[in-house]
Amino acid sequence: MRIPCPYCGERDAHEFAYLGDATVKRPDFDARESLWVDYVYMRDNPAGRHREHWYHTTGCRSWLTVTRDTRTHQILTVEFASQGDAA
C-alpha cells in the first residue's frame, strides 16, 4: 500500500504507524461516562470508506487523516490531522 503524505509525497505504507478510527472525538472532561467509554473503547469496523489516523513514523512525524476504502485499500484522501476534520 502507498500513502501520499501531504508533506513527503507518496510513500510505502511501511513508513507509517496505524492508529485507527479518526472519526471519534475526545469528549469534554465533564461529558457523561458512557461518552468517554465510547471514545476510549468503541470502534466501528466499516466495510468501505473509513477515516483513520496514520503517523508518518519514519518520515515527517505528521499525524495524518487518511480516507481509505477498507475493501480495496484504495486511499481516497490524505490530510494533516492538525487541520481538523475537513470531511
Binding site: 502507498r2 510505502d12 472532561f29 461529558a31 471514545y39 480495496t72 485499500h73
Partner: protein
C-alpha cells in the same frame, strides 16, 4: 571432446546411460552426453560445465538447466514420489514441475525440493535425489505402492485416530518420518539477502513475444520500463519453438529485441526475477536470484534480492502452462508434457528419447512430433483423441513416418524405472502397443493468471478457450499474450502490441501503433480432453502429491465435492508446484463425477507468493543483530575498557555491572557498587532515557494535559517528577521534566517508552490540541547523560563546572536545573535529581563529549573513591528508595495502585483523568504497592511470588497480589521487595505469605513502607 549424436540410433539407451568421466588437464570433462544433439539449441558449447547428481559427475554446457543437462546425459530417473515412492522423471521444463525435485547444495546451504527444471546449470553444481532409501534405484519406501489400496485419500484421517494417547507418541512421529520430500538445511543460512525498491511507468512481466512487444512500445515512447523474466534468458516460448519472425528464428528476433531494449536508458531488464505477488497501490513483489547460478556467491553480493516494484501500469505476459492428460501409468519417467519435450530439443539440444510417441487433444502436440523428427528422433506414433484432424497434420504424420491413431487413447504404460512401451486403443477399439522411450502429452494450455487473483478475484472458466481465464483484474494491470488466451504466435504478438499500446496511452505517452513482425501461421485448435476412462494402473492427476483419479472418486463418494474440500482432503494442488500442471484436470474429473461443468465446480484461489520464496529473502538484512541494531551508550567504549558486563535493555546495550579483579559473583560486585554510592560517589550512564524538548508559549498548558500533575506552575530552573496516563486511566510512563525557561521544557521518559511517548505527544499536539503553540523535538541521542550520585557527588562535580556557576547546596538545591559549561567550555545541562536516594546530579553534555566527560568525572572523583555502577546497582537502589520502574508500570496499574494517587490533580483535564475515575479503579481491595522484607531476614525473596494470607491455602481464591521487584539490599543486609497487595497500605506491620510455586519458594514476609532508605529524604537534600 567428442560430441556423439545418434541421429538414427536404434540401440537402447541402456547401453550407455551415463557419461564417463575422464581426466583432462585440471578439469574433469565428460566424454559423453549421449543424448545431446549437434548444432541446434541455445546452449554455449564453448563453455563446458561439470556437475554432480547423486554422487556422479556429468557434463553440460552454459545455457543448460539441470534437467536439460540430465536429459543430455540420458538420466531419466530423478526422484521418488511423495507418497508411493514411485520412480519419477522429468515432466516439464519450467516452474510448473511436479516431479523432478532435488536437494541442492549441502550443509547449511542445502535447499530441498528445488525444481530441477528451474536450476540454471553452473560448474560444480551438486544436486541429489530425494525421498529414497537406500538409493534412488532401489527404494524400500516403494512398498507403499503395494499398500496403495489402503492409503488413498483421507487415509491418515481415518486410520490414525485411536487411541488418543498415540497421537503424539506414535502417529505424529510416524507421519513426520514418512511425509515430506527433501531434508532441510543443517545450519543458519550463510548467505546474504537484500531488499530494494524500484519504480517505473510500465512493468512488463514475462519476456515472451507479447511481453517483448509491450516493452518495446513502452520503451520507444520514453516510459520508464521494467521487464521481468523468470528465466535466465529472454524470449519465453520463442526460445523453445521453431517459429520464424521476420524471416529469422524467433530466438534471434528475441535477442535483437532484447538488444534494442538494453540500449535504451529508460529500460531495465531483470532476468532471473519472478514476480510473485500483486499488492495494493501498484506494488509488486519480485525475487531476483542474483548469484544462485554462480558456483560461489561473490563477497558482499546478495544471493537473492527481494524487489518491491511500484509500477503505474503493468502488462502481465506470463504465458501459459501446458496441461497433461490423465491416464494409467502417466507418471513413468519418460512421460512428459509435449511442449516440454520440444523445449529440451529446440532450446537445449537435449533429446528426451529416441523413440517418441505423442498423445494429444490439440494442434500443439503436433509441433513436438515435427520438431522431434527434424532433430532425427523416431516419431513412432501420434495418438490424437480427435477423430478428425486437418489434412496438413495427416501429411506431417506421413512425412515423418509416424503411425497416426485418430480418436485414440493411451490406456497404459510399461517399464520399470523408465518408459518402455505404451498401450493404445484406437477409435475402432483395436489395441496396439508401441515401443517408445518417451511420450509427449498435450492436453491444451492453461493461461498463467495466478497474479490476477491476488486482489481476491477468482478466475472464470471460458468454454471458448477451454481454460480458466482472468476475470476481474487488479487496478492498473492488463493482460496480454498466451496469458490472455492468445496462444498462437501471431495472436500473441498482436495482443502484446495492442495491450502495450493502450497501457502507454493510459499513462499519457504518445506512441504510434507498431508494425507487427511477419510470422507463420500457428494453429492452436483444441478439443478438451481430461482423462482416459478405464485405463490400466494408477492415473495421476497431481504428480507431486500422488493424487490419483481414484482419490478424487473417494473424495466424491465421501462428500468432499467442493473444490476447496477436494483440495484439503486429497492434497490436490498443494506443494511447490501448486498444481500448475494438474489442478484443472482434477476439477474437470470432479465436474464429470458430479455431472456438472467446470464452471459450476469452480477453482480454488491463487494467493501470493506465486512461486516459493525463501524466508531469508523476506528478511533481507534484517536478521540476527541487524533485525534490531544494537545501540551503544556514549560511554560504551570507556565501560568496555573497564571490564563492564553489558545487558540488553530494549535496543540498548548498557553496562550491567563492573566486576573487579577477584570478585567471583555478581552480588559481591553490585553490593560494592551500591555501597560506593551510599558512602562516597558513583557514576552511571543514563543516556538511554528518552529526552524530549518541548517549546512554545503553551508548553506548560500542554504538559498539564499530558501529566496527571501540574507543570505550568513549575518555576524556570526547577524539575518535577511526573506521571502520565493513557486515555483509559492506567499509567503509561513516568519521569522528570525540567523547565529551562518560561517557554522551554525538557522531558525525560523511560528508556523503553522513548519512541512511544514521542508519538503520543505528537498525537496529543497534532490531533487533540493543534491550536496550542507547542513544538516538540526528540533529543534522546543528542545528549549524553550521567548520574553522579553519593555524598561526594557535589565535591566531584564542583571540579568540573566552569565559573561562575555555583554548585553549592543553597544556590543549586534539590530539583534544580541549569544550563552551564563544564570542563572549560563544554555546553552542559545539570539536573539535581536522585533516583538512588542520595545527594545526586545528572550531568548532560552533547553526545560526542560523552566519552571524554565520563573519563573526567572518574578522575575528578578518584580522590573520593568514585566507582562506576551499572543497571543492577541502579535497580537495587531504586527498590531501596521505593521508586517505581518497569516491573511496576505494567500497563495494568493506576496511579493509585502505584502509590502515586496523591499526585493526581483535580483542578484540570488531562489524558486519562476521566477514565481513571471509574469506580472499580478505586476499590479499596485493589492491590496497592507496599514494601516487604522476610520475617526470617536470611530468607531470599522472589519476584513473581503471589501473596496469600498466612495459614491460608495457596489457591487462586486466596490470592491477594504479587511481588513485582526484589533485591538484596547491601545497605540493610537482607532481601527486600515491593509488590501489590490488597489493602496494602492499611496492613503495614502485618505479615503475609509470599508463595511462588514456579520457583518452589514459600516465605513469610513483613509488610512495610516501600521506602527502605531515608524515608524523610534528608540525604538527597543534603
Amino acid at each position: 571432446m567428442p560430441l556423439v549424436a545418434h541421429r538414427n540410433a536404434r540401440h537402447s539407451y541402456s547401453s550407455n546411460p551415463y557419461g564417463r568421466i575422464r581426466q583432462s588437464g585440471r578439469c574433469r570433462v565428460i566424454a559423453n552426453q549421449a543424448y545431446r544433439l549437434p548444432e541446434v539449441g541455445a546452449i554455449d558449447r564453448s563453455r563446458s560445465l561439470t556437475f554432480m547428481f547423486d554422487g556422479r559427475a556429468y557434463g553440460g554446457f552454459a545455457g543448460d538447466t539441470l534437467t536439460s543437462a540430465l536429459i543430455a546425459n540420458g538420466v531419466r530417473l530423478i526422484g521418488r514420489s511423495f507418497k508411493y515412492h514411485r520412480p519419477r522423471g522429468i515432466f516439464t521444463s519450467g516452474p510448473e514441475e511436479p516431479n523432478a525435485l532435488v536437494e541442492l547444495g549441502a550443509g547449511a546451504r542445502r535447499e530441498p525440493n528445488t525444481k530441477a527444471t528451474t536450476i540454471e546449470l553452473f560448474d560444480g553444481l551438486v544436486a541429489a535425489s530425494q525421498n529414497r532409501w537406500p538409493s534412488l534405484r532401489i527404494d524400500l519406501g516403494a512398498i507403499n505402492s503395494l499398500l496403495a489400496p489402503f492409503i488413498g485419500a483421507g487415509f491418515y484421517y481415518k486410520t490414525l485416530m485411536w487411541p488418543a494417547s498415540f497421537w503424539e507418541t506414535i502417529y505424529e512421529p510416524l507421519i513426520r518420518r514418512s511425509a515430506g520430500l527433501g531434508r532441510a538445511a543443517e545450519g543458519p543460512d550463510p548467505d546474504n539477502y537484500e531488499k530494494a525498491h524500484a519504480f517505473c511507468d510500465l512493468l512488463v512481466i514475462g519476456s515472451g513475444p507479447a511481453g517483448l512487444m509491450s516493452a518495446l512500445i513502452g520503451a520507444r515512447a520514453g516510459a520508464r520500463v521494467i521487464l521481468c523474466e523468470e528465466d535466465f534468458a529472454i524470449g519465453g516460448r520463442l526460445l523453445a519453438e521453431k517459429h520464424e519472425i521476420d524471416g529469422q528464428e524467433g530466438r534471434v528476433w528475441a535477442a535483437q529485441t532484447e538488444a534494442r531494449l538494453t540500449e535504451l536508458q529508460n529500460v531495465r531488464i531483470f532476468r532471473r526475477t519472478s514476480v510473485f505477488g500483486v499488492y495494493d497501490g501498484g506494488t509488486y513483489g519480485a525475487l531476483e536470484r542474483v548469484t544462485d547460478h554462480l558456483r560461489e556467491s561473490t563477497p558482499h553480493q546478495a544471493r537473492q534480492r527481494l524487489w518491491k516494484i511500484v509500477a503505474r501500469h503493468v502488462v502481465l505476459a506470463t504465458g501459459a502452462v501446458e496441461r497433461h492428460i490423465v491416464f494409467g501409468g502417466n507418471d513413468k519417467p519418460g512421460v512428459m508434457l509435449a511442449s516440454a519435450a520440444r523445449t529440451y530439443v529446440n532450446r537445449f539440444a537435449a533429446l528426451p528419447g529416441r523413440h517418441i510417441a505423442i498423445f494429444t487433444c490439440c494442434d500443439d502436440g503436433w509441433k513436438t512430433a515435427a520438431d522431434f523428427a527434424t532433430a532425427g528422433a523416431t516419431v513412432v506414433a501420434v495418438i490424437d483423441v480427435r477423430r478428425e484432424i486437418s489434412r496438413a497434420f495427416a501429411r506431417v504424420a506421413e512425412r515423418i513416418g509416424a503411425r497416426l491413431v485418430t480418436g485414440g487413447r493411451v490406456v497404459g504404460t510399461r517399464g520399470g524405472r523408465s518408459l518402455r512401451s505404451i498401450d493404445v486403443i484406437g477409435a475402432d477399439g483395436q489395441a496396439v502397443r508401441f515401443e517408445v522411450d518417451c511420450l509427449g502429452v498435450s492436453g491444451g494450455w492453461n493461461p498463467t493468471i495466478d497474479l490476477t487473483c491476488h486482489h481476491g478475484s477468482k478466475p472464470r472458466w471460458s468454454d471458448d478457450q477451454h481454460a480458466y481465464i482472468a476475470d476481474k483484474l487488479p487496478p492498473g494491470l492488463s493482460i496480454a499474450g498466451a496469458a490472455a488466451g492468445a496462444l498462437s504466435l501471431p495472436a500473441a504478438l498482436l495482443s502484446g502490441a495492442k495491450v502495450g499500446h493502450e497501457a502507454i496511452h493510459t499513462l499519457g505517452f504518445i506512441a504510434r501503433f507498431p508494425d507487427l513482425p511477419r510470422t507463420d501461421e500457428d494453429p492452436a485448435r483444441l478439443n478438451p480432453f481430461w482423462h482416459v476412462r478405464g485405463s490400466r494402473g494408477k492415473a495421476f492427476v497431481d504428480l507431486q502429491n500422488d493424487v490419483t483419479v481414484t482419490d478424487i472418486e473417494i473424495a466424491f463418494r465421501e462428500g468432499f465435492r467442493s473444490v476447496e474440500h477436494l483440495k484439503r482432503y486429497t492434497t490436490l494442488g498443494m506443494g511447490t508446484d501448486q498444481g500448475k500442471a494438474g489442478n484443472v484436470s482434477g476439477y474437470a474429473i470432479m465436474a464429470d463425477l458430479t455431472g456438472s461443468s467446470i464452471t459450476v465446480t469452480g477453482t480454488t484461489i491463487y494467493r501470493p507468493p506465486h512461486v516459493p520464496i525463501a524466508i531469508s529473502a523476506f528478511a533481507g538484512h534484517h536478521r540476527g543483530k541487524n533485525f534490531r541494531p544494537t545501540r551503544l551508550t556514549p560511554s560504551h567504549r570507556w565501560a568496555a575498557e573497564h571490564g563492564a558486563i553489558f545487558v540488553e535493555t530494549g535496543p540498548w546495550l548498557r553496562a550491567q555491572y563492573f566486576p573487579k579483579f577477584g570478585e567471583t559473583d555478581w552480588l559481591t560486585t553490585i553490593s560494592r557498587e551500591v555501597t560506593a554510592v551510599r558512602t562516597a560517589v558513583g557514576v552511571c550512564d543514563v543516556s538511554t532515557l528518552g529526552k524530549i524538548e518541548i517549546q512554545g508559549t503553551d508548553a506548560g498548558t500542554f504538559l498539564d494535559r499530558i501529566y496527571i500533575n501540574t507543570f505550568s506552575t513549575l518555576l524556570p530552573g526547577k524539575t518535577r517528577y511526573g506521571v502520565m496516563l493513557r486515555e483509559d486511566g492506567l499509567v503509561m510512563d513516568d519521569g522528570t521534566t525540567a523547565r529551562l525557561a518560561a517557554d522551554r521544557y525538557v522531558m525525560s521518559t523511560t528508556t523503553a517508552n522513548a519512541g512511544l511517548i514521542m508519538q503520543h505527544l505528537e498525537f496529543c499536539h497534532q490531533v487533540l490540541w493543534p491550536t496550542l503553540d507547542v513544538q516538540l523535538a526528540s533529543i534522546s541521542e543528542t545528549w549524553a547523560q550521567f548520574s553522579v550520585a553519593g555524598p561526594c557527588s557535589r565535591a566531584t562535580l564542583a571540579k568540573l563546572v566552569d565559573p561562575p556557576f555555583n554548585i553549592a547546596n543553597e544556590r543549586f538545591p534539590h530539583l534544580s536545573v541549569a544550563s552551564l559549561t563544564v570542563c572549560g567550555g563544554v555546553p552542559a545541562r545539570l539536573f539535581r535529581l536522585s533516583f538512588s536516594g542520595e545527594l545526586a546530579y545528572e550531568l548532560a553534555v552533547p553526545a560526542n563529549y560523552g566519552d571524554g566527560v565520563i573519563r573526567v568525572i572518574m578522575s575528578a572523583g578518584a580522590e573520593f573513591g568514585i566507582e562506576p555502577y551499572g543497571t543492577e546497582a541502579l535497580g537495587v537502589m531504586r527498590i531501596e528508595k521505593g521508586h517505581v520502574a518497569g516491573n511496576e508500570i505494567t500497563g495494568q496499574m493506576t496511579a493509585r495502585d502505584l502509590g502515586l494517587g496523591r499526585l493526581m490533580s483535580t483542578k484540570k483535564d488531562f489524558i486519562g483523568r476521566r477514565m481513571a475515575e471509574r469506580i472499580a479503579f478505586h476499590d479499596p481491595n485493589r492491590p496497592c504497592v507496599v514494601g516487604f522484607r522476610p520475617t526470617n531476614r536470611s530468607a531470599r525473596l522472589q519476584a513473581g511470588a503471589h501473596f496469600v494470607p498466612c495459614g491460608a491455602a495457596p489457591t487462586a481464591a486466596n490470592d491477594e497480589g504479587f511481588m513485582s521487584s526484589v533485591a538484596f539490599s547491601p545497605s540493610l543486609g537482607h532481601w527486600i521487595g515491593r509488590g501489590f497487595l490488597q489493602r496494602g497500605p492499611e496492613r503495614i506491620g502485618g505479615r503475609v505469605r509470599a508463595y511462588d510455586p514456579v520457583r518452589a519458594t514459600d516465605v513469610e514476609v513483613e509488610i512495610c513502607n516501600p521506602v527502605f532508605i531515608d524515608p524523610e529524604g534528608g540525604r538527597l537534600r543534603a
